[in-house]
């Protein structure tokens, strides 16, 4: 026994000698040199419609160049609603960039640097493999915390599969984070780090830093790079990520096995079905345990397994027919559910500067979230305080279905009416609105003295 123990001790000694030797330090230097030059300090001016008027706000985020043509990956909440973007590169040169595409459900976006004035080769960071990361592994976070550019912080991976049960929404209103788990790190992540890379000691990007626990010490979260790679690919080839929707929600089976009599059997517990959804049409019910999907066994015993199952359905091409084998009580059933396109989560924004409120188009997902009976009309996003709409009694969340007794079916129709009435300097406008189940009338009296602009 002693014979075996000794060489092991020696080996340990050798490792510790080599660490003391400075190889960990050298690894950190090497990782730094591979990614830091490709780090981008991003200064977008983002558009915010929430207060009833278009407000432009300069913010700071981070990003990383992943391709020699100048493509940069960052967060959707950094660049998704950007009007203009200024980027500072590793060599401290400033270039402008434009928004290429984004994906609110994963909070990722791609921008492209304008390299017309840029000289020399562009440093590019390499994506690693987030499936092979380990808890305790050394990592570096790079970005612009509190706008302090080219900042490197270090730590370890604290957890590689953090699950958030709480619904999280982007500032622009989209629900996000349903399709991935999170890499948690104690490398300091602060506001401004958003969109920056989390890097392993091989100098490969293993995640995009996106969230942090406020008022906590060193609890930051990165989107695993394998998710990033898929989203980047979809945006660069198709312009966006296309997802399937069936309208079923799931819950971990853990602690429910006895109730459902599924001891020893795996599956995915259906907890809720959206009204009017493909899942409802396919007769799937809350309480069903999905055991197989297209002949393949599926399971979500633990919450950490839920995002992968949501993703499994989302990645099917819209229109796919899924064959579910479900357990319902003591019965085993086969149900087919035809998926449909998930579509945009939020509609396009529009500022009615002359009337002091903002609206957006109504998507199917907004219809569902706001319990609207149909998608007709436009959704009031914000009402400017003490403005004409506020005085008239319009509220955020109202749905405008008519202007001067003319029906409004969608955003383009609304915008056309709006422009006509503003152009004609109409002093009194009657809006027909839906508020909850009520159909109300609102009279707008835009102030005659105020200059209204049409440049929106």
């Amino acid at each position: 026994m002693k014979h075996i123990a000794l060489p092991m001790l020696a080996l340990l000694a050798a490792v510790s000698v080599s660490a003391a030797d400075g190889s960990l330090q050298n690894d950190i230097y090497r990782a730094r040199d591979r990614v830091l030059p490709a780090l981008v300090h991003i200064q977008p001016v983002v558009k915010d419609y929430n207060t009833g008027e278009l407000k432009k706000q300069a913010i700071v985020g981070s990003g990383v160049i992943f391709n020699k043509d100048g493509y940069v990956v960052t967060n959707y909440h950094v660049a998704g609603k950007a009007e203009r973007i200024i980027c500072t590169l590793g060599d401290r040169e400033q270039v402008s960039a434009r928004f290429i595409g984004g994906d609110p459900p994963t909070d990722l976006a791609i921008i492209k640097l304008d390299l017309s004035d840029h000289k020399g080769p562009l440093p590019v960071a390499e994506f690693g493999n987030s499936d092979s990361v380990q808890v305790g592994q050394y990592v570096l976070a790079m970005g612009s915390p509190l706008a302090l550019s080219r900042t490197v912080s270090g730590g370890v991976i604290s957890t590689k599969d953090r699950y958030f049960s709480q619904e999280v929404r982007l500032p622009s209103g989209e629900q996000t984070g349903n399709y991935n788990l999170w890499i948690q790190t104690d490398a300091a992540i602060n506001p401004g780090n958003s969109g920056g890379p989390l890097v392993d000691l091989d100098g490969r990007v293993i995640g995009i830093n996106s969230r942090a626990m406020m008022f906590a010490n060193s609890i930051g979260y990165a989107i695993p790079v394998n998710i990033v790679k898929e989203v980047v690919h979809a945006i660069l080839t198709e312009g966006k990520v296309t997802r399937s929707y069936i309208g079923a929600h799931y819950q971990a089976l853990q602690e429910m096995e006895e109730y459902f009599g599924t001891d020893g059997v795996n599956g995915v517990l259906v907890s809720s079905i959206d009204a009017g959804s493909p899942a409802e049409e396919g007769l799937l019910r809350a309480g069903d345990i999905i055991q197989q999907m297209n002949g393949q066994a599926v399971s979500a015993k633990f919450v950490e397994e839920l995002p992968a199952f949501y993703k499994k359905i989302a990645t099917l091409p819209p229109g796919s027919v899924i064959d579910f084998r479900v357990q319902r009580g003591t019965d085993t059933l086969h149900l087919s559910v035809k998926t449909r396109l998930l579509g945009d989560l939020q509609g396009e924004d529009f500022e009615c500067a002359g009337w002091d409120f903002t609206v957006k188009g109504i998507t199917r997902q907004m219809q569902l979230e706001n319990q609207l009976k149909d998608s007709l009309g436009v959704f009031v996003e914000g009402v400017k305080r003490s403005g004409a709409a506020d005085d008239g009694g319009l509220r955020a969340g109202d749905v405008i279905v008519a202007i001067n007794k003319q029906e409004i079916t969608d955003l383009p129709g609304f915008v056309a009416q709006y422009h006509d009435l503003v152009q004609a300097k109409t002093q009194k406008i009657l809006l027909g609105i839906k508020r909850g189940g009520s159909s109300r009338l609102v009279v707008l009296k835009p102030s005659a003295n105020e200059e209204t602009t049409l440049n929106d």
Partner: protein, 484 residues
């Protein structure tokens, strides 16, 4: 409670200052009031109430004693007092009561020193006037206060009143002087007063000739009055502007004739949601009425629905009287008018029904029905074992959650004991329980039966199937039987 005692202290302080340095007007006027006469007449009908109340915050309860001034209003011993302090509820509309004050016992002491016990009859939800009935007076007849009817109030006319002093002061009452400061019309005729800031609500007010003309009451800030679809007015919250004024003899007489009964809500409803017909909207709709009510939704199966009323209809007359609602703040006048008519009353509405080009004129007759239960009045059941309380689903639950009425069944969790079994298990106030273990529940009776069965069987865990935020889910509550 704290607010009240501060007010009482302030009242004493103000009274003391007034006594030292009365203003010139007060001094001149004071001579015209015959306080000695007042003092002898109030002795007949003024009483001091000691009310033991139970104060409940969620499921935690606490007892406290409140001292109030009361006025005998009938020979049999019906007593009028400030009901807001001894019987109030503030509840989140979704879950039901979360803060509640209920009287446990009422002790009545006349100024002559005679003691009786009384029970709460009820509190009027509009004026917050409370009524209690003496239960052990035998054949004793009281000399009640006689309020003047149809009093002509004038701005600038003086009023006086009696107020309750702290217990250690003898006699326990003192007089105060105030003035009619304004005669306001909205939301209903209500003479405002000044000078009674420290006075207890429901104190009897007297004119210069010492005739009782009404009691001190508040007018809620109309802009803070929220209304629900049942045509019910819910109370004003903290921080609202309170306008003090006279609750007139006519209104009190009405209340005395049929006192509000606790637990029983005899309000009527029409079953519409509504909006004021402003001048601007009337212009757009080509309607020549100086106010009215626009019907914005009609509840299926409600009196309005049965009468043929439609969304977009404009009600401009009730029983031939104009509905002068031309701003949102006046909507409660209409709601109150409906709510205060007895269920079963036939009401004729004159209605405009605007079309694209023309406006139809219709007469619609609706038979009012008893308003649906509110969250606070709904039957409820408390489970000691699971440490939560459930109540029946009510009309407003559907409206508040933007659901079609009747589209969901279950019981609503109205209270949860902090860190109790239900709380730790992950249930929340407002959850609608649809199934307990394998038993579907649609009423508190069913929930009680299901829970009683579970308590007898003592399973290790109980799965609840609930509705929360427009989604359903399963919640596993671990039990802990040895603790009980």
């Amino acid at each position: 409670m704290i607010k009240r005692s501060i007010r009482a202290i302030l009242a004493v302080a103000v009274a003391a200052v007034l006594a030292v340095t009365p203003g010139p007007a007060a001094r001149a006027q004071a001579q015209t009031f015959d306080f000695a006469r007042l003092q002898s007449s109030v002795r007949d009908y003024t009483v001091v109430l000691k009310v033991k109340v139970e104060i409940a915050f969620g499921m935690q309860t606490n007892e406290q004693e409140v001292r109030l001034l009361g006025t005998v209003v009938t020979p049999e011993g019906l007593i009028l007092f400030d009901g807001s302090t001894v019987s109030s509820e503030q509840h989140s509309s979704m879950s039901g009561a979360s803060f509640r004050v209920t009287p446990v016992s009422i002790e009545v002491t006349t100024l002559a020193g005679r003691k009786y016990s009384a029970e709460l009859v009820g509190v009027d939800r509009f004026t917050q006037l409370g009524f209690a009935r003496i239960t052990n007076a035998g054949n004793t007849r009281f000399a009640p206060v006689q309020f003047a009817m149809n009093q002509q109030f004038k701005v600038g006319s003086w009023l006086t009143a009696y107020m309750l002093l702290p217990e250690f002061v003898t006699p326990p009452v003192a007089s105060d002087v105030g003035m009619i400061s304004s005669l306001i019309e909205s939301p209903e005729k209500f003479p405002l007063t000044v000078g009674f800031g420290g006075l207890e609500m429901a104190s009897v007010l007297y004119d210069e000739r010492l005739t009782p003309v009404g009691v001190l009451g508040t007018l809620m800030d109309p802009t803070s009055v929220s209304t629900d679809a049942g045509g019910m007015i819910s109370g004003s919250g903290e921080g609202d502007v309170q306008l003090l004024g006279v609750v007139t003899g006519e209104r009190i007489q009405k209340l005395v004739a049929s006192p509000p009964r606790k637990g029983e809500d005899e309000r009527s409803w029409l079953g519409i949601t509504l909006q004021a017909l402003t001048k601007d909207i009337a212009e757009f709709l080509n309607i020549g009425a100086s106010g009215g009510i626009i019907v914005t939704d009609v509840v299926k199966g409600s009196p309005a629905d049965k009468s043929g009323m439609k969304v977009g209809d404009v009600i401009h007359e009730i029983n031939g009287q104009p509905v002068e609602v031309d701003m949102e703040e006046k909507v409660p006048i209409f709601q109150r008018r409906i709510a205060e008519m007895a269920p079963g009353t036939q009401v004729e509405f004159s209605v405009f029904r605007p079309h694209d080009q023309k406006v139809d004129t219709l007469r619609i007759v609706a038979t009012l029905e008893k308003a649906p239960l509110t969250a606070a009045n709904a039957p409820s059941y408390e489970s000691k074992e699971f440490e939560f309380k459930v109540r029946n689903i009510v009309f407003s639950d559907y409206i508040q959650n933007n659901l079609d009425v009747g589209s969901l069944s279950g019981v609503v969790i109205s209270d949860i004991k902090q860190s109790g079994l239900a709380d730790v298990g992950g249930l929340e106030i407002g959850d609608i329980i649809q199934r307990i273990a394998n038993t579907p529940v649609t009423s508190v009776e069913e929930a009680q039966a299901a829970l009683t069965k579970i308590v007898a069987e003592k399973p290790r865990e109980v799965v609840f199937f609930i509705w929360r935020n427009n989604k359903t889910m399963f919640v596993n509550v671990k039990t802990d039987w040895k603790m009980q």
